[in-house]
Amino acid sequence: MHLDKTEISLIGVAVATALAAQLSPDWLVFTLTLAISTALVVMGVVMLMRAGLVSFGQGLFYCLGGYAVGLGGRFLGITDALLLIGLGVIVTVAVAMILGLLMTRYREIFFAMLSLAFSMILYGILVKSHGLGSTDGFGVVDWTLLWLESETADGANMALLLAIGLALTIALFLNRYFKSSIGLACEAIRENEVRVEYMGISRQQVLYINYVLAAAVGSVGGSMTALAAGHVDPTLAYWTVSGEFVFIALLGGTGHVAAPFIAALIFTLVRTYAVELAPNAWQMILGIVLLLIILFLPKGIWSLFTRKKGAAS
């Protein structure tokens, strides 16, 4: 298989991160795991953004992935992390395939609000599920990865390595996907969907596939968060969480598969240091940082890494 330069460097960065993590303090390992999981969901948001759609309800799939891990461990007795993640993907794809039939008919703010509505309906159902702990949520069982056990040895490190592995696989796939005919058709739809139809491509079909894929990626992020944090609760589906994903997506920009990862890491670190340094004003710090980035890096943080700034359209 021939690898292009982006792919080689993605693999390189993944290996470097995995190695660096062995020397990093434990809190950073955990923060990094969460940032990567978040980045996966953001990746789904970016996929939709490339097609001109902004989802304020990606928390729906994030939450489905998380709850699949929690419920699969608790009621089905599954402990293998990969099986749990797979279960989440299956459930999510099934839901997304139904919702997608409806969602792909909507654009702009209506897409955003309808996705928000569905995510909030799931939130409402979970809040009403007293047996599942309502808003308190419940703990995720101790998981295993193939033959390794998370509880023994270095669970946090194992979660990180799993996250890196999954993220790398997904990033490599999406890197090809963005350049495939369907990935390019998504961008064409964003620019002008009527012309896309004239060219004999079904925009409905393209958007549908893109929507379902984005949902699956979001689900993996949710499952990974649940495995790392060891707890799931309905907040995962709350609209502010979805809003945060959109925020990070814009922060990174849609230019490259690596952008969401960098943006998520920066977002997480800014927030955790803001919470530590100014427990009473961290929201303000976050808001100001985001405004500054929007003002000075309109194409997202990724534009720092590309030479020809904003040379597009």
Binding site: F110, A112, L114, A117, T240, F247, G287, I288, L291, I294
Partner: protein, 299 residues
Amino acid sequence: MLTVWAILIDGFIYASWLFLVAAGLTVIYGVMRILNMAHGSLYALGAYAAASALGLYYAGGGDQLWMAFVIIAVCAITIGAITGLAIERGLLRLMYGRDEILMLIITFAVLLILEDVMKLIWGTTPYFAYQPYAAMGRINIDVLTVSRYDLMVLVVSIVIGASLWFWLERTRIGKILRSIIHDREISQAMGVNVERMFTITFMIGATLGAIAGGITAPIISVVPGIGIEVIVLAFAVVVTGGLGSITGAAIGAIIVGLARATSIHTMPELELFIIYAVMAAVLVFRPHGLFGQAVARKI
């Protein structure tokens, strides 16, 4: 029968409050195409300003009801107009022409900042300016009671709705605004000062948000975070009714209000879903909301 009456009364009272909250949002969106997340902060600012001023007034021995309303109005209008002006001139002006979603995120950042600014000014202790609500008393209908203050909110809401409609449909400035809604570039070419109209619109929208907060202050206890709670509600109403339409916001508010009251009186456990279920149901059949207009797609 009692329940039916209760549903109607509660539904319309709640709808009037929803309309007050949503009106500013829909005016700003209609003219400027900005879905203003910071609307929730303006609501909270209005509530904080009114509640703290009322607190001072009553602590100073005042007990005139009309004075309380003057205080609410003055506080809300002042803080709404000033904050609106500051946000529009200081920030949004630099961003016009950007993506609709980017504008939404910018207002979200403003919301985050204002949340903490309010905390720095007013602290976190709840403000509790119940006096006007208690002083106006209630009307008894069998076992049901209706607060006169709630009825007054209903009247204020109708007055504001009617004035907005009149302003947009029957005045010169309203005509100019409608021309901007219709086609921003052509109106600019025809000599309309679009930027100034934007400033005016944003100030009016922001003030409406602050008024909604100010008038709600005596009903609730004003705590940090109330702004965030109302935004999604306001969004749901506005999207259900059709973005940018005053009539739409009114009808959306009535539908959501009645649906919610019905659910609370008959199936209280469904209350959390009902608003989103109504919004989803309306959007399934009317993809642009009840009074929204489909935009022609460019070719």
